[in-house]
Subunit: 145 residues, 2 copies
DNA sequence: ACAATAAAAGACAATTTTGTCCTATTTAAT
DNA sequence: ATTAAATAGGACAAAATTGTCTTTTATTGT
């Protein structure tokens, strides 16, 4: 709706990886896809984007899988995941798709959107994977259904 | 970015139609597409959706075209256009794509998104075509570039 | 009645997104 | 060294979105 499917899967996957990493567990794509209810192969592709962007760490071979260092969890923000997969158009681009839309030459929605996009940008840049993972850990939030 | 291309064109087209209707002018698809810088045939399709939803009025034949009654302009809200083309998922659905995401079983972003989506919904349901068209009329906003 | 004009409708094409499958590469364990 | 387990990468397929083109329908003006 707001993000692409790939981005939705990417965020859910990252949160699940973080959750498991908090408990010192490394997870496979198969397990991730199962736990976040997403297509395995497609999720694998999406995870590749995240590893290339150093958002999650992948280890090949037996007992390999995905993980996120505990000390990185706090510095990895949602905005980094979204940007890696969808780009920053959601919170940077014009709501009506104009190339040149700014305070000087605003589209009719420019001012109306300003606050919303600003809040969205702030939320995404301030929310860390750690925060999301701990919410899950405590059993307050869910990744499927 | 936020809306589909069809929806972007739809909004821009509706605003342009409203602007011209304010001056008592009826406009053709060709003129609309030219003025909002969009593909003609595709814009025509999108306009069909708006006419079916009684958001704009279309008149066939010579000196026909699209228009919006002045008295309707104020009651036509952005949310109606968006809903007619993209559905209401942007401001009603879950940010992470979960089917069942609510206060009881929230996704990790549910609370973080609550305000943003609520503001977006309010903005869309409160903003009328009249308001947008008059901004254009005064020369404060733009529909292309 | 006829010709011209404009939207409606439908078939088709291109592109992007979403998704699958097979092979290659890396690594751990025996 | 060999085998097995895991991600990486590439080719392909399906579906959705975006876009074009042609024909039909309605309406106006002559």
């Amino acid at each position: 709706m707001m993000f692409s499917k790939a981005c939705e899967y990417g965020i859910r996957a990252a949160v699940y990886i973080a959750l498991q990493s908090l408990e010192g567990k490394r997870v496979s794509v198969a397990e991730i896809a199962d736990e976040i209810d997403s297509p395995v192969a497609f999720t694998a592709k999406t995870l590749q984007q995240l590893t290339r962007n150093n958002i999650v760490k992948s280890i090949k071979g037996p007992s390999g899988g995905f993980e996120i260092e505990k000390e990185d969890m706090d510095s990895v923000k949602l905005s980094m995941i979204v940007k890696a997969i969808d780009g920053d158009g959601i919170y940077m681009g014009c709501g009506l798709g104009l190339k040149e839309c700014n305070a000087n030459q605003p589209c009719p929605l420019h001012d109306k959107f300003a606050d919303i996009r600003s809040n969205l940008r702030k939320m995404l840049t301030n929310t860390s994977l750690y925060e999301l993972a701990t919410g899950l850990e405590v059993g307050l939030t869910y990744l499927k259904r």
